[in-house]
Amino acid sequence: MNQFTFEGKTKTMLLGGIVLGVVSMLLSYFMGGEIANTRFWSNFLHNSLFFLGIAFMAMFAMSVWITAWSGWFVMGKRVFEAISMFTGVGLLLMLIIAIGNYAGFHHLYHWNDLEAVAHDKVLQGKSPFLNRNSYMIFTVLFGGMWWWMTMKIRKDSVDEDKNGRFGDFKHMFRQRTWAAAFLAISGYTSAIVIWLWLMSVDAHWYSTLYAWYVGASWWVTMIAFSILIIIYLKSKGGLPNLNEDVIHDLGKFLFGFSIFWTYLWFSQYMLIWYGNVGEETSYFWTRAHGYKFLFRLILVLNFPLPFLVLMKNSNKRKMGTLIFTSIVVIIGHWLDFFLMVKPGVRQTAEHLLHASGEHEAAGHEVVEHTIPFLSGFSLPGFLEIGTFIGFLSLFLYVVFASLAKADLEPSHDPFIEEAKHHHV
């Protein structure tokens, strides 16, 4: 089977998932309560970012591998291409949030509340960067650039199937040019948009490591998804020439980058904990005290579990083990993003509620010492899970639809023979 057909049960199931997601989002929007609006929008931001990042990382990974002349991934190249095709959809979702900054759909970002910024020295200082216009410009410009280059490589790769010939390296060199350009550009641009999209939900706080940390999270999740999709395709009889060793390599990536993520997590935590500067510790103080369970669960799911399970060589070749670890890691990093988004958004929302309330005394510097449980913020509730399933289905729908548009095996790639005989 060299052509994946996307129809029947899988399609119906994914459409059902999307409907479930839409219902969950509508419910969270109309649920009422003073913070419901924020719950809806923070779920929206959380999931859009999560899946957009996975798509971005698929493109980034392909660029790294193409630039490094690697042949091993070529047999599964179409899977990474298909994942990267979600970039367009993800950017549209982020565009809704960027428009929402102007239209006042949501109160996700403290810096977008001009009233608050006027009384806030720190936010004033950051306002040349943290403002609606730069959010919009960077989202459109950088995101557009990613999408454009992703499309270039994808089109060229599909074209290679038709017009490529053995011994003709035209397509390969063209793709290499785009890949190298993307690497140079995406390194800087991804950091900038991560600051805007994600780090600025805690508008007063910043960490120089943050973009790396988020990127590592995306990378690990992308690898987990690619493993799951490749195993799924193989179970349907696709990619017969993709051998066990390629999956083994992906398992190594999952293992190695789980450690890398932990390294970054710890580096960020350790420096802030040791430095003990109030404006820096607030980020971890909030999470370690108000979100105790999640704070610990994320570490367990994303480090000791993949580390111990995938440590043994032969475990990286067992499909069941890989499926289990991939699913755990995806859930773990989804929760990680949950914990990156929610506490900051919640503080902003509560701040707004208090600011619009009767007493606006010297209450700006008040530090709340207890963070009460709030469903959908302290822990993911059913609506969050429903929203996640919705976005997941949308993501997989786009991926499978893209997979069905081209041959699964890039038959004219110069590295195809090497990939066929890949051996570790």
């Binding site: 710890f266 935590y269 350790m270 904990w273 040791y274 003990n276 440590m311 043994k312 060589n313 032969s314 051996h423």
Partner: protein, 178 residues
Amino acid sequence: MKTKKNILFGLYDDEQDLLKAVKVSNERGLKIMDVYSPFPIHGLDPLLGLKESRLHIAGFIFGTLGALTGFLFMSWVFKIDWPNVFGGKPLWPIPAFIPVTFELTVLFAGVGMVVTYFIINGLSMKAETEVLHDRISDDKFCIAFDVTGNASDNASTFESFLNETGATYVETKEMSDL
């Protein structure tokens, strides 16, 4: 004192020739004593029926030992033996211990595996190893058969196998070390 062995070996010019030869020997059921190569050959281990090395189990054990040593020692020093307040941190500042614990894990695992490897293979500074042929550490690939005490027709089976599969040089040597 080790017993002397008669080794029949053939040298090949290319590792692909050697891989093909090993496949042929498997088909014919010839028992290869060992294969020598200047570099690791992809796909050779399963053909020879070699099991996965257990060295990494030693690595895991040494690593765990290192982690425990580092963590427990620091805990004992700073919590029990000489409690002191540093920079307003708690007496048992776990995050501060993690880098050192990590380093000791790596150190113990690394050194432990090297030492284990040396002991298991009988390598020491005074160890002397006889080599079948000088060029197996340079550019030749070697298949060796143990022909000690074998009937002469058995040895000739091996010899004709080596010649058939493209060995460029065949010799029998008496070795005490292999």
